[in-house]
Subunit: 594 residues, 2 copies
């Protein structure tokens, strides 16, 4: 199947209609984030109530997703965010992305909501076929149990994404979960922005892609595509970060725990320090060690793993499976750096088993780990439970599933916890919590948090690559405050990559290896039958950003919303004793004359 | 003492310093709202965290407050609002306004906050003298008990305003309470915008004005002032609404309950209908009847009253004292229309004793009745307790004082309840709940809710006067959608009146009686030694509005925030089956080229 033969699957949850629409010309060259953001921009009124009838949830595989390009299995989910009030795209790997693309879906548009408040549905997608089925029996079921039942019910090892308990409770910390590639476990999250609540507001519990007849997505220019794919694959495989036995394979994203801690930028105990004395115990190295230990102890029975792919065809394989220490069985997969930080260092918890359990609970409840870790951190700051008390955190988190008032507060995210408890140390921009890099110590990422259209979100302009890890052997001083150009360049490139279907982590390699970068661009161009050059990346990425920024402007956002919270300007963070000191003018330079 | 001799009292809660500053020339012609908004604009960074160090709480008597002008005892409280994020002014009568003016205070500025989170203070003000005293023993004490203790402790029947339990808990539904003129009861509220939480964030429990030596405030031109006062007084006394034995004296503001219900604009059961079948049971007529009944039954023992003033020298006397039915003793004073609606019709409660009890609880806890009634209404819509269940509502409201998670949610206002429980039927603008007039049935007040700088607030442009009650015998059709000019005119005039120190209710008379209007303007001019004409009212009011709008603009507000919630455009309200249909363009005309 050619990419251009994919169609728009439009599902209306009020009249329960299912329509396959020929992809309109204007959308034909878009995919992933570029497509979800464009559809949100064109079809969702900017002042729509995010959980109301007029919001839409868009699901779109990237341009090369479903092909045989390496590390290309990402799926974008977009909507107006109930957390930020602005446009949102979150993406994830897992089982669904390739399957959805191969079932012929260019984008799934879920619109309106049932008039019956007590009716719940699943959506089942097969090759050129989709249906809405009644699903009340799955309402408020934990995601592990839910996905297991669906995995057993549908014959073709389906891709499953869904709203989770938190999303069905309409909580703004809810992500859209997706199952892992090897089983039904809900370990893949388009986590941010409360998109799970948007799906829940549509009364959709799960979207099941059961594509037995699916076909590999083919490029318009297959020869060019194949050689470009090869160049990209070689760049990835040859790079010390993304290659075989490289840092990511051995330690996963959580290789960052010790690195960021050493940089004095690991937010600790609700952003009150940049250094966590227990970081090494919850680091990627600790996971690696634990996996080796249970393998040694339990042999083939052990389920722990590193160097694990999150989607078919990934050569980076930065994912992992954290085992229970006492029996070697699967505890949670994956445990990413962001999650280990949010549920570990940020809560003062250095017990890896407790951190894994908190992550498993988030997965089961349908919660974004970053938002939830921040919410728990603010709750600890409010004195509800003590910092460092993992058992208390587990108990508190379980309240989300019980729907208690406190559980609902936690599930609503850090800003809400802060509002309800009068805590002003809340690390958020545009209502969304910050990820695992303190901008007081690493300025560029703060510029991204402040100015990105998605609210505080590292993936939309991951300057950490330049400021900590280095590009082409050069590290940009993290404390240099002139980061507008750096953040803009990352934001633009990222918007392109997020549209392509490639995982953002290819960036480590392609920023270093020019042939890899060109290979990446050429695969996208070949897929679409276009003639993009390397310079088109920022141009096309810019288009996506401009669309998103314009939506936000129409939703009432101004440059005054592109600011970090007051406490970061006033509370210096240990060990470097630094505050947020990037001038507003530098921030306003990022996107210029808005 | 001349008005011009009053000084600025600046209190810093970090270093606990008290300074009397000569009024700067630029503030010398300002008072009340004009002064609080100007000081907030000049001294509070627009992006300041509302509960942080950089917000300031400003308290300012009106220009003629403390004089012998009739109905002139209003006090403005201003700050950046934690509820709206914009500028806020709320005003009230009671015992403090005249006393504070007569103690020589032009404005009280409370800035910064203690570094010690566990220290609580009172501020005691006497004639040209003020001190900060430790007050930990009053922390989280109910306002009735607190004010009684302070009333006994300070010898001169002090004016007391304070933060209340809700404010000390930093809840955004907290108002600034003030005691009644005849006793210590906390019945007077600068209720809106969460200003009680700002005072609480400064660690101030109460501000006690114990002004034995206070002097009547004198005008620069006393002769003109006296004759103008007389003209105003005659207009008020001769008018059927504001005069002796008029509607307001007999039934108080709650005369509106039946009127607005008949207009089909009485928001009922969380804004799901415009007609409440039980309205008459909680109306001003019902209070009047109850008062007469307990007087007959208990004679001199009965404490119920109507035709009761809220501040010394008020000739309108629209306040009341609601007695317990079974013993005639004071239950709550006053029960205003807005409160009876918010805690009655909006909750489907038609039991006057329960409504009075809910109001007394709000007073005791330091909660704004409008915000809290809306919060309870949304909680009922979420199914937490049933509509109409007064005992359940009382129990739920008590949770605010207990500081339970659910209590904190309720105390945080309707928008927070809606967010945490996923309810989208939340009647609010800029984060603040709407008062007792459904804009679907009365369009002009909706234009005020949408476009006023204070968030949804009827008092900032009370078009009801024209749309329901009529001005000079003419009633403007409430369903006419061309209300930009009407709302603007009311907003401008109101900004002037709110600055003068006069109660807004003089408007009923002065809009009808030209001599009264001129008298009002002349008293203000004579007080300041200015030569204002009648036309200066809108000009000077406009200045205040422009200051407020510019603060909001710098805080990130745009015209996109001047909109009513989505559900009002889509859910028609009984009995007239109307939706909100004023075009955005009409709204944007109110304040023009912002």
């Amino acid at each position: 199947m050619l990419e251009s033969d994919k169609q728009i699957l439009r599902i209306n949850m009020r009249d329960l209609s299912v329509k396959w629409e020929k992809t309109p010309e204007k959308w034909s060259k878009l995919g992933g984030r570029g497509l979800t953001s464009t559809i949100v921009f064109e079809e969702v009124p900017p002042l729509a109530e995010p959980l109301g009838r007029h919001n839409k949830l868009i699901v779109a595989p990237g341009i090369v997703t479903g092909s045989n390009a390496p590390t290309s299995g990402r799926l974008s989910v977009g909507a107006k965010s109930p957390l930020t009030g602005g446009i949102k795209e979150a993406n994830a790997g897992g089982r669904t992305p390739h399957k959805l693309a191969r079932a012929g879906v260019k984008a799934l548009i879920i619109e309106d909501k049932p008039s019956d408040n007590d009716a719940w549905y699943n959506i089942v997608i097969r090759k050129n076929d989709a249906e809405i089925v009644q699903a009340n029996e799955y309402h408020l079921m934990g995601a592990y149990k839910l996905t297991k039942l669906l995995w057993e019910k549908y014959p073709n090892k389906p891709g499953i994404i869904g709203s989770g308990i938190a999303g069905q409770l309409l909580l703004k910390g809810a992500g859209v979960f997706g199952n892992n590639i090897e089983n039904s476990d809900p370990g893949r999250y388009a986590g941010r922005g409360g998109l799970g609540a948007v799906l829940g507001s549509k009364k959709v519990i799960a979207i099941i892609t059961d594509d037995k007849e699916g076909e590999v997505v083919k490029a318009v220019d297959e020869d060019k595509f194949k050689s470009a794919s090869k160049a990209l694959r070689e760049a990835l495989q040859g790079h010390p970060v993304t290659g075989k036995d490289g840092g990511l394979q051995n330690y996963g994203t959580n290789i960052l725990m010790n690195i960021i801690n050493e940089a004095g930028a690991l937010p600790t105990r609700n952003w009150s320090s940049g250094y966590f004395e227990g970081a090494s115990k919850i680091s990627g190295e600790a996971v690696h060690e634990l996996v080796d230990k249970v393998k040694e102890k339990f042999g083939d029975e052990a389920e722990g793993a590193y160097a694990h792919p999150c989607h078919p065809g990934c050569v980076i394989q930065c994912s992992n499976v954290v085992p229970y220490e006492d029996n070697g069985k699967l505890h949670v997969a994956p445990l990413e750096y962001e999650s280990a930080w949010a549920l570990g260092a940020n809560l003062g918890i250095d017990n890896l088993q407790q951190v894994a359990e908190l992550n498993r609970l988030c997965n089961d409840l349908g919660l974004d780990t970053i938002e939830t870790g921040n919410a728990l951190g603010v709750a600890m700051d409010a004195g509800i439970i003590p910092f460092g008390d993992g058992e208390a955190a587990i108990k508190l988190l379980k309240e989300v599933g019980e729907g208690t008032p406190l559980g609902r507060i936690i599930g609503s995210g850090a800003v809400t916890v802060g509002k309800v408890y009068g805590v002003t140390r809340v690390a958020a921009v545009k209502g969304q919590s910050m990820p695992a890099y303190d901008p007081r110590a690493i300025k560029g990422i703060g510029v991204t948090y402040a100015t990105g259209p998605q609210g505080a979100d590292h993936t939309q302009g991951y300057t950490i690559a330049a400021e900590i890890l280095g590009v082409k052997g050069q590290v940009t001083n993290p404390r240099d405050i002139n980061k507008a150009d750096l953040s803009r360049a990352f934001q633009e490139t990222t918007a392109f990559i997020d549209s392509s279907g490639y995982c953002l982590f290819i960036a480590f390699a392609i920023l270093d290896v020019d042939e890899g970068f060109k290979g990446m661009v050429d695969t996208v161009a070949a897929m679409l039958g276009e003639n993009y050059g390397v310079d088109d990346v920022t141009k096309l990425g810019r288009n996506v950003l401009n669309t998103e920024l314009e939506f936000n402007r129409r939703a009432g956002f101004t440059k005054e919303h592109d600011r970090l919270p007051e406490f970061m300007k006033e509370e210096p963070i240990a060990p470097h004793n630094v505050v947020w000191d990037v001038p507003d003018e530098e921030l306003d330079k990022v996107h210029g004359g808005r």
